[in-house]
């Protein structure tokens, strides 16, 4: 019985759906792929797209004081709907049609790791 249970667990763990979900929760990998191009690989707002032509500075996520001012819900909304939802620049793209909810949550978590802060509640 235990063995059957363990085998089932193993099969589930190795199935593509499961590994997909595990990857989806990897905020760091998601950030490196989708966000680093503007926000920089370390989240400091210095990705390769930020040339002299770039109209606004992408947020530096390591600025704890600035990131404390926004809530998880603020972050979530901007990721999903883009800059304009928070009266920010449309240069911050809307990712809601690209990312799953789980991926957005993983990114919120990763930004909190980068700022080493929790943000205002509400």
């Amino acid at each position: 019985m235990t063995r059957l249970f363990l085998t089932t667990l193993l099969i589930v763990a190795l199935s593509p759906a499961f590994t997909g979900a595990a990857q989806a929760a990897d905020g760091e990998a998601l950030f490196g792929f989708y966000c680093a191009q503007c926000h920089g690989t370390g989240g400091e707002g210095d990705g390769p797209n930020v040339t002299g032509d770039f109209p606004v500075d992408p947020r530096n996520f390591t600025e704890t004081a600035e990131m404390e001012k926004i809530s998880d819900a603020d972050i979530r909304n901007v990721i999903i709907d883009g800059g304009p939802i928070a009266d920010k620049s449309p240069m911050m793209p809307p990712w809601g049609k690209t990312l799953t909810n789980a991926e957005v949550e993983a990114l919120v978590g990763y930004l909190r790791q980068l700022c080493n802060c929790t943000g205002k509640t509400s």
Binding site: P16, G20, Q23, A29, L30, G32, F33, Y34, A36, Q37, C38, T41, G47, P48, N49, V50, T51, D53, F54, G82, P90, M91, M92, P93, P94, W95, K97, T98
Partner: protein, 220 residues
Amino acid sequence: MKTGVSVFPALVLLVMTSSLARADAAAGQAVFESNGCQSCHYTQGPATEKTIADQLAKKGPELWYAGSKFQRPWLETWLVDPQPIRPMKFNSVMEPNPGGHAVLSADQVGPVADYLMSLRSDIVQDGAVKVKKKNLKGKLIFIKKMPCSGCHQFPTKKKFSGGLSGPSLIGAGKRLNPDWVLAYLREPKVFKPVKMMPVFVGVLSDKDMKNVAAHVATFK
């Protein structure tokens, strides 16, 4: 190929064109494979990438819909004298494109172009984008309403502008088929299921997609 065809009598031409094109495509495929091109480019659709890791494992862009994506004259010029398209190295966020793409000789390029142009996606709707000299609505989307210019270089009056993470769109009017650009926006999962560019379905209307595709087609 062009001069070869013109000496055939019209009747033979009518009967033979399709099989001839197939024969040339087959010859081109042999050249493609003997040059090792398929070690970096897959040519059999549909797309199989499911995860970021799958996308990052590719050594070059997939070519299974090359005939729908590119304009043949551009392809012929580029394959004998390839210049960087992506400012950054393929699949790298930070490293600049080192250039140095494999080069074809003048006698190889015709058949390989025949082969690549035979690789088509039936999702691309011929004539869906009406290209004019200007498309101001599309321009506004590209530089202002949407972040396109944040990731793509594009020509301006002065010289050029724009971000570096996406393929440069300078010269896109000669390189890309506008109908493919529309299909790429409309059906993001078909061509690149996982990519660094956001999905614009549900963000841009179909009309807006047509306008922005028509604007990209004006890029010299």
